[in-house]
């Protein structure tokens, strides 16, 4: 278990570090929203899901995609705009998808995948499947009206959705105090009749335990559950850099989070040897994926006009 968690955490961290390293070369000509520092949420939640379960995410979807088992080569090729990308190079970093791994896509429009995930859950429940849908979004997404509309319906129909709010305190550079009048985000979920728990302290084991229990209840027909998980975005909102110098937040604020790096915390639970073995394998996998993406083909020009409609 620990080795799988570490493998996933380390993979995500290192993939994003590689993205950040490559980015200035302009090989990735599209916005990237890094999850560095927040990986434990995706990894923890996905550890509680089955392969057939599905997830929906936001533009900040690298961690979720990989944690759920999305294909790494297809992801990097997608960022490089290559035809072998998970969306043929048409989607870029903000819209990763791998339906075979249960990654049902991500959207650049804040909160727009919340209702789609609920609709997916409705379809599964109606057809008698026991799929659980995990719906990921940021704190900012909870200000959009559609968040409430989706939660209400999930509650009304007792749908198998686990809502995961990754509260990193910021929407771009805006603090919660500039955006929200209410008390806790969890209170809003509760007002829709959805049991909600807030997890502080960013502890992957706590996440797995707490979410895992909820997922089980959901699978047994208990209806939706809601988690607000506090976290911190280490990098700038979009792009590969640090941004503690630009004015909206101070490095001191980040320090406790940096000290509680779950990649290290989990890694430290492994023996030196086990850890090295995993790290080496992951590095090789990443190197291969980037090499693959580098050498892959661009989509042919004819792709511009293809895929607009699905025809049998």
């Amino acid at each position: 278990m620990i080795d799988r968690l570490f493998r996933s955490l380390f993979l995500i961290r290192r993939v994003e570090e590689e993205i950040a390293r490559v980015y200035p070369s302009d090989k990735i000509m599209s916005p990237v929203h890094l999850s560095i520092g927040q990986e434990a949420i995706s990894v923890g939640v996905c550890a509680t899901l089955r392969p057939e379960d599905v997830v929906f995410g936001t533009y900040r979807c690298h961690a979720l995609y990989l944690a759920k088992g999305g294909n790494l080569k297809a992801m990097i090729a997608e960022l490089y705009g290559k035809f072998a990308g998970c969306a043929k190079g048409k989607a870029g970093s903000m819209h990763l998808i791998d339906t075979s791994a249960g990654v049902m896509g991500a959207s650049a429009v804040v909160s727009s995948t919340i209702p789609t995930s609920v609709g997916y859950a409705f379809a599964e429940k109606t057809r008698g499947k026991d799929t659980v849908v995990a719906c990921f979004f940021g704190d900012g997404a909870t200000e959009e009206g559609v968040f409430h509309e989706a939660l209400n319906f999930a509650s009304l129909k007792k749908l198998p959705v686990v809502f995961i709010c990754e509260n990193n305190y910021y929407a771009i550079h805006s603090t919660e105090s500039a955006r929200r009048g209410g008390p806790e985000i969890t209170a809003m979920a509760q007002a829709h009749g959805i049991p909600a728990i807030k997890l502080e302290g960013m502890n992957i084991e706590e996440i797995i335990q707490s979410v895992g229990k909820a997922v089980e209840e959901i699978r047994n027909g208990g209806g939706p559950r809601f988690f607000e998980i506090m976290c911190y975005r280490w990098k700038e909102h979009v792009g590969p850099n640090d941004d503690f110098g630009v004015g909206y937040r101070k490095k001191e604020e980040a320090e406790p989070w940096l000290a509680n790096d779950q990649v290290q915390v989990v890694g430290n639970k492994l023996s030196e040897e086990d850890r090295r073995r995993i790290e080496i394998a992951v590095e090789a996998e990443i190197a291969e994926a980037f090499a693959f993406a580098e050498s892959a083909e661009l989509p042919p020009d004819s792709e511009l006009l293809s895929d607009i409609f699905r025809t049998h």
């Binding site: 929906f56 990308g85 998970c86 969306a87 043929k88 190079g89 048409k90 989607a91 819209h95 998808i97 339906t99 049902m104 896509g105 959207s107 429009v109 727009s112 919340i114 209702p115 789609t116 995930s117 609920v118 609709g119 997916y120 859950a121 409705f122 379809a123 599964e124 109606t126 057809r127 009206g145 559609v146 409430h148 509309e149 989706a150 209400n152 319906f153 009304l156 293809s306 895929d307 607009i308 409609f309 699905r310 025809t311 049998h312």
Partner: protein
């Protein structure tokens, strides 16, 4: 001779839904009030008794959210039909329709598709006013990835709805309140009307009149008047607004040399502009033609009857415009007021 099976437009829609729900268990219907005694203008009446509340259900008032939910169900492989009693409310769901439904198949490189039908009603009737009477199909025509269909006959209503349900892509299905009462031949068996094909409703050589949605009913009335002054109009119902069958219209105009487009919506940057421009593209260098656009007055819809009447193009006005188009702008003629029974007879409150 076999007598034709006659049904109303609403009945035709009802039959389409019922047959498709029977055929495919992935088809379901959702919308505000669809399971009440009115049953979405009768089009969903009795369906809940037949198919149960999992496949026929009322929804909260939440257009954006419920559209996203329909889309999500479609992504999972179901085929939702989402209904709205007024097209005006679609403005609340534009983000899900345009940013998600229309784009997902392309944006994800074909990995998923969104087979959803969104039915909404252009609400002209009984002083509905500015916010309950808009024909907004032109907005959706502008968006790649959406199909837009606005059938006007009961036959097309059934065939287009079945085609829309079976389509793997999002379809905006536009119903005008005033065509709900039209009756006509509707075969009992299941059939589809081909996507992207216009219908020539009446033949003629002097002028091509294209009518969108309920306007085409008025165009047919105008045609009758025009015959009396020796003008033979060809009347075309595009049926599908996107994809638009420009060929059928352009071929007709090439013959008649005159095009009148009458929309159930505003003209500025709307469907009528597209039709004129597209026909012009086809015919440039081949045929010079005269043309005119008609549609709603360029204002929100007023409620009071005398202004409302002027707001909409009517059969007499259409005939008069067609006359001047054919005979030259200096020649004027207008038939007596032409009855539009569906409008005269309609009584509210709704």
């Amino acid at each position: 001779m076999q007598t034709q099976r006659t049904r109303s437009y609403s009945q035709a829609l009802h039959e389409a839904i019922e047959q498709e729900m029977t055929r495919d268990s992935n088809v379901f219907v959702m919308g505000q009030g669809i399971d009440d005694f009115k049953g979405m203008y009768g089009t969903t009446k009795g369906l809940v008794e037949r198919f149960g509340p999992n496949r026929v259900f009322d929804t909260p008032l939440a257009e954006e959210g419920m559209t996203g939910i329909a889309i999500g169900a479609a992504m999972a492989g179901m085929r939702p039909i989402h209904t709205h009693i007024r097209m005006d409310f679609m403005l609340l769901a534009m983000n899900q329709i345009v940013n998600i439904a229309a784009k997902s198949h392309y944006m994800y490189g074909g990995a998923i598709s969104v087979p959803i039908v969104i039915r909404s009603v252009i609400g002209r009737s009984w002083g509905q006013g500015a916010q309950h009477s808009q024909g907004l199909h032109s907005l959706f025509m502008h968006i790649p990835g959406l199909r837009v269909v606005a059938p006007t006959t009961p036959y097309d209503a059934k065939g287009c709805l079945i085609a829309s349900i079976r389509d793997d892509n999002p379809v905006m299905f536009v119903e005008h309140r005033m065509v709900h009462f039209q009756t006509g031949h509707v075969p009992e068996e299941s059939y589809t009307v081909p996507t992207g094909q216009a219908r020539v409703l009446a033949k003629g050589d002097d002028v091509t009149i294209v009518g969108i949605s309920h306007a085409v009913v008025e165009c047919m009335r105008a045609k009758v008047c025009l015959e009396q002054v020796g003008i033979h109009a060809e009347v075309i119902d595009p049926v599908w607004l996107s994809p638009l069958d420009v060929d059928t219209i352009a071929n007709s105009v090439e013959r008649t040399g005159a095009l009148l487009v009458v929309d159930s919506g505003w003209t500025f940057t709307g469907a009528s502009a597209e039709i004129v421009a597209a026909v012009g593209e086809r015919l440039q260098g081949k045929k010079v033609f005269k043309f005119q656009r008609m549609g709603f007055a360029p204002v929100p819809c007023p409620t009071t009857k005398n202004l409302e009447k002027q707001y909409y193009p009517d059969a007499a006005g259409i005939a008069s415009s067609a006359f001047s188009l054919v005979r030259g702008s200096k020649e004027h003629w207008k038939p007596e007021i032409v009855d539009a029974p569906e409008i005269l007879e309609f009584k509210g409150p709704f």
